[in-house]
């Protein structure tokens, strides 16, 4: 078990392994998204209240869910990197942050586009969901700004890991504290007692989109980690062998 992790954490091994996974993730993700998009946009019944406007759910919910997932990945790998000093997991955290920020941004955008017909406003100050999502975007920004501010990679890794962990402690607090304010936003729809409160014709494309987004996220993450690893190990022998033509690596 331990040796497995040890091997996984070795950059060249990971670099090769990731290369094998990326196409699979990409293909599965694309397939799910294709199904979800077609089924969701053309075949799912229109909502009896919202008409076709609801269809943005197929982007909104997956990105909202991934924005949180990405933070968890970032925080957990930061913790692993800090405690066990595994450099690879710092690379994962660094790679996850911009992706997470993008998905957060996407969730905010789609949500606010959706909010316009639904609530008659792009943005509603003081709504807990909206606010906590915005705060999460700021947490990502803070993480990335701190990283960008420190030149030395190892130092940036450690400092930003501390921040990611502090932020992780705070996410539930942000989440629950803003719940104090009454919400416009949808309550739990999918995961709740008594099963999903959504018609199956809408549900399956949505689930497909969620899976599809997740796999695409996985492929993007692995790809980013690969570049990150390559950059960090630029002095290592295996990278030289990889990059320089045969016989040119003295």
């Amino acid at each position: 078990m331990w040796t497995f992790f040890h091997k996984l954490a070795s950059p060249p091994h990971f670099y090769d392994l990731a290369a094998k996974f990326i196409p699979w993730f990409g293909v599965i993700g694309a397939a799910c998204v294709a199904y979800g998009a077609i089924a969701g946009l053309f075949y799912a019944p229109a909502d009896y209240q919202q008409g076709d406007a609801f269809r943005i759910i197929y982007v909104h919910v997956p990105s909202a869910y991934l924005s949180m997932m990405a933070y968890m990945i970032m925080a957990v790998s930061a913790a692993i990197g800090l405690i066990w000093r595994i450099k690879l997991s710092h690379a994962v955290a660094a790679a996850a942050a911009p992706l997470g920020a993008w998905f957060t941004f996407l969730a905010l955008m789609t949500g606010s586009i959706w909010g316009r017909p639904m609530w008659g406003t792009w943005w509603e100050w003081g709504d807990p969901r909206l606010t906590s999502e915005l705060l999460m975007l700021f947490l990502y920004f803070g993480y990335m700004a701190l990283r960008a501010a420190i030149d030395d990679t190892t130092k940036a890794d450690k400092a930003s890991a501390v921040l990611a962990l502090v932020g992780a402690v705070n996410i539930p607090i942000i989440h629950f504290s803003v719940e104090w304010w009454s919400s416009l936003h949808q309550g739990a729809t999918l995961v709740r007692e008594g099963g999903p409160a959504i018609e199956t014709g809408m549900l399956y494309p949505l689930l497909a989109m969620i899976f599809g987004f997740t796999f695409i996220f996985g492929a993007l993450l692995l790809g980013r980690v690969r570049t990150e690893v390559l950059f960090r190990e630029r002095r290592a022998n295996w990278v030289r062998k990889l990059v320089l033509p045969e016989g040119d690596h003295a």
Binding site: L82, T131, L135, M136, F138, L139, F141, G142, A145, L146, A149, I150, D152, K155, K158, A159, V162, L163, L165, V166, G167, V169, N170, I173, I174, S177, V178, W180, W181
Partner: protein, 232 residues
């Protein structure tokens, strides 16, 4: 030769030394205490000026403005929490002293609160009066501000430790701290508004107290870790 253990100070002596030194420093340059206060006062007068004076308006937005002003005043003073220690080499000495670093971090945060948070709490009734806040609201405001500023000093010490030596001024620090400080702001302002409307305030006060306890137990460790990293 002396035993190394001879050098080990008692926890409280080291802790008090740090607090005493920082308060003494503030005493030597009273600006450190006075500036955040003036800033606090100014921001709370700027808003009415910028938004326009209409007294129902003012009474309504009073708690929010006071809280934002307090938050900003605290943020502004945080930047210097470890900076001068870093620059004159004292930080090396603090890290290498036999005192456990989280204790030192806690002492620094406490001193920061004594220098900036406490005066702010004490002066807040004056500002509140200009917003026509009634007396019982003011006492709620002071209690929430107390918990809030303590938490801010502690959270801020994490941010200050992470950014020390980067010479980025207050902006980066604020970016790191604001998301964490937001719940304090929301609850603080909200609780004071509730008090003004004669509503129950205990939930808000409990939340702030709990948040304060949480930061009190966790922040010193995060700050210590951050200090070691930043000082590499």
């Amino acid at each position: 030769m002396n035993q190394p253990t001879l050098n080990m100070p008692s926890l409280s002596s080291g802790f008090l030394s740090v607090v005493r030194r920082d308060v003494l420093l503030a005493w030597k340059r009273p600006g450190d205490v006075l500036n955040p206060l003036f800033f606090f006062a100014m921001v709370s007068t700027l808003f009415p000026l910028a938004v326009g004076p209409s007294s129902e308006e003012l009474a309504f937005s009073g708690p929010g403005v006071v809280w934002v002003a307090a938050l900003l005043a605290a943020l502004l003073s945080l930047n210097s929490l470890f900076m001068s220690d870093f620059e004159d080499g004292s930080l090396d000495q603090l890290i290498l002293s036999p005192q456990p670093l989280p204790m030192t971090a806690l002492a620094k945060a406490l001193a920061h609160w004594l220098i900036t948070g406490l005066p702010l709490v004490l002066v807040s009734p004056l500002v509140a009066i200009t917003f026509q806040m009634p007396a019982q609201t003011i006492s709620v405001m002071m209690v929430t501000l107390t918990f809030g500023t303590v938490s801010l000093s502690l959270l801020g010490s994490i941010g200050a430790a992470l950014t020390v030596g980067l010479h980025r001024g207050t902006a980066l620090l604020s970016l790191l701290i604001l998301p964490l400080a937001m719940p304090i702001l929301i609850f603080g302002a909200r609780t004071v508004s509730l008090a003004a409307a004669d509503d129950a305030v205990s939930a808000g006060v409990y939340f702030l107290a709990a948040y304060c306890m949480l930061t009190l137990t966790l922040a010193p460790f995060a700050t210590a870790a951050a200090l070691r990293i930043s000082n590499e």
